[in-house]
């Protein structure tokens, strides 16, 4: 109990200095704005993001359809085998 209290007090004392050191690690905001000499290029092109989004959906849906069809075929083959054995 005494040890636990000591740990809590030490953590409380260390918290502000830890928070300050974490703040120092953060990227600093720019001190001033500099006008661009040429018109800036677009930083994040849209096309790869658009392609990735549509590609993911197509892959996900086709993958799921394939998985359900495979499982269904397996179960239906098992049913056919069991019914043939029954006869």
């Amino acid at each position: 109990m005494r040890l636990l209290r000591m740990v809590i007090v030490l953590a409380a004392l260390a918290a502000p200095s830890l928070a300050l050191s974490a703040k120092e690690d953060q990227p600093q905001p720019p001190a001033d704005f500099v006008p661009a000499e040429n018109e800036p290029q677009e930083q994040i092109p849209a096309m790869p993001l658009l392609g990735a989004a549509y590609g993911f959906i197509w892959l996900g849906v086709f993958g799921y359809v394939w998985s359900v069809a495979r499982r269904l075929r397996k179960v239906e083959a098992e049913i056919a085998a069991l019914e043939a054995r029954k006869r």
């Binding site: 994040i44 993001l49 658009l50 989004a53 359809v65 179960v75 019914e83």
Partner: protein, 215 residues
């Protein structure tokens, strides 16, 4: 079923042409076109959660054992469409908001709903006997989350567009959107029926084994 599949196939083949013909958005540019698949995916995600919740209610309180097949089917679809929503959303956000993710009410609650249904699927796979009822309870909690997700953008501060964007869409953006919503709804119905059929057939296999043991 074959007719539905052919219709869905045709609609998904036509969708890229309609999306391509839609105009670009004034501030977001080309990337907003993710919306035409993102929004229908999100709606199917919420619909799957509601279907799973209703079927769970039937299983738990009306004692309909076959309702379990529909809970299983809808839960898997919630995972599929949830993944589609949670992947396409950040891809759109990276360009529009400058970040992949923000911990606002809409995104966080959607992630929670997705995790509830991932937990459901894992529970049914590895949970053993009794996991159907435990899972149904989980799916009911998932459904309770749906209205909160839907209205969250209207009540809490967020970058996410509010629900009022949809009815106010200009016609040239509205036509491809509603076309995609129809295609996704059709796909949802087909997948739900296929997946439920798999569970019906698994039940049949068990019955056949039981009959064989008794004979």
């Amino acid at each position: 079923m074959i007719v539905l599949m052919a219709l869905a196939g045709t609609m998904f083949a036509a969708a890229p042409f309609l999306i391509d013909a839609a105009p670009q958005e004034a501030t977001m540019g080309l990337v907003y076109k993710i919306y035409f698949f993102h929004m229908p995916s999100a709606w199917m995600f919420l619909t799957a959660a509601v279907v799973a919740g209703v079927a769970s209610f039937r299983l738990l309180f009306l004692k309909r054992p076959r309702a379990d097949h529909w809970v299983m089917a809808a839960a898997e679809l919630a995972v599929l469409f949830g993944a589609c929503t949670l992947v396409t959303g950040p891809l759109w956000a990276r360009k529009s908001w400058g970040v992949w993710w923000v911990w606002d009410a809409r995104l966080t609650s959607s992630l929670m709903l997705f995790m509830i249904f991932v937990a459901y699927v894992l529970l049914r796979k590895y949970g053993g006997a009794g996991s159907d009822k435990l899972g149904a309870g989980l799916a009911l909690f998932g459904m309770a989350n749906v209205p909160f997700i839907y209205v969250s953008v209207n009540y809490w501060r967020t970058f996410h567009p509010p629900t009022s964007v949809v009815p106010k869409l200009p016609i040239e953006m509205g036509i491809p959107l509603w076309f995609c919503v129809a295609a996704f709804t059709l796909l949802f119905i087909i997948l739900l029926r296929l997946r439920a059929r798999l569970e019906h057939q698994r039940d049949r296999v068990e019955m056949l084994y039981l009959a064989e043991d008794e004979a």
